[in-house]
């Protein structure tokens, strides 16, 4: 009887250990999946923001430079071709560049 009780107790202890180990690993996987999902959403938003900025520059409008934690850096690139304006659009999140786009448009005479 005593033997059986100690075996049962040992079995329970091993089960608890196995469960906590697998739970720790699975929680790590869930956390990793959540982090990757956030990065993916951020990248998608950065691509859309950069695209909107490029189209605004082409249309001669003022582009939006920040949105929900993301901010744009628009740097004019000197063009060797007369009549062409070029810019490099970089989207940052917490000082890290997520997406870069180069665009050009025709210079319209005033």
């Amino acid at each position: 009887m005593k033997n059986r009780a100690s075996l049962t107790l040992m079995e329970m202890l091993i089960m608890v250990l196995v469960f906590s180990l697998s739970a720790a690993i699975c929680l790590g996987l869930f956390a990793g999946a959540d982090r990757l999902s956030e990065e993916t959403v951020r990248q998608d938003r950065a691509v859309i923001l950069a695209q909107n900025a490029a189209e605004a520059l082409k249309a001669g409008a003022e582009p939006e430079t920040a949105e929900d934690g993301l901010y744009l850096d628009i740097r004019e690139v000197p063009s060797e071709i007369p009549g062409l304006k070029q810019a490099e659009i970089t989207v940052f999140f917490e000082k890290e560049a997520i997406f870069t786009l180069e665009t050009g448009w025709q210079e319209v005479a005033p």
Partner: protein
């Protein structure tokens, strides 16, 4: 009569089965969620690459446009009936096709097309002969 107390193997009880089931469920769901997120990440990367490719071709097309406007003869540009036509590759399968009216430099066409549309290959249909 002595009862021989044989050491029987510890039988897996109900609680152990429950724990094994819970561990299996946790593992399967964790792997599924990780797999889903990785697939979403690959799709997002492909989308970003597609946008980069388009704007690279767009920039190339704008450069050729600017050079044409400044009076330069650009190789690869075909002029017919006052319309300048040229293409810039976007990806292996896509091309940016541009048509410009030479007099006014109005953009008549600025369109991404599939490469096979550009070549307009026609397959001969058997007519029974």
């Amino acid at each position: 009569m002595k009862k021989k107390e044989a050491l029987s193997l510890p039988a897996i009880g109900g609680s152990s089965l429950l724990v094994i089931f819970a561990v299996l469920c946790l593992t399967v769901f964790a792997l599924l969620s990780l797999g889903t997120v990785q697939a979403e990440r690959r799709l997002s990367d492909k989308g970003a690459q597609a946008v980069s490719d388009y704007y690279r071709a767009d920039l190339e097309a704008e450069k050729i446009f600017a050079r044409l406007r400044s009076g330069e003869q650009v190789p690869g540009v075909v002029e017919t009936e006052g319309v300048c036509r040229y293409t810039c590759p976007v990806t292996e399968n896509q091309t940016l096709m541009v048509e410009l009216e030479k007099e006014t430099w109005v953009v008549l066409r600025w369109q991404v097309i599939l490469r096979m549309e550009e070549t307009e290959e026609k397959l001969d249909v058997w007519d029974g002969k």
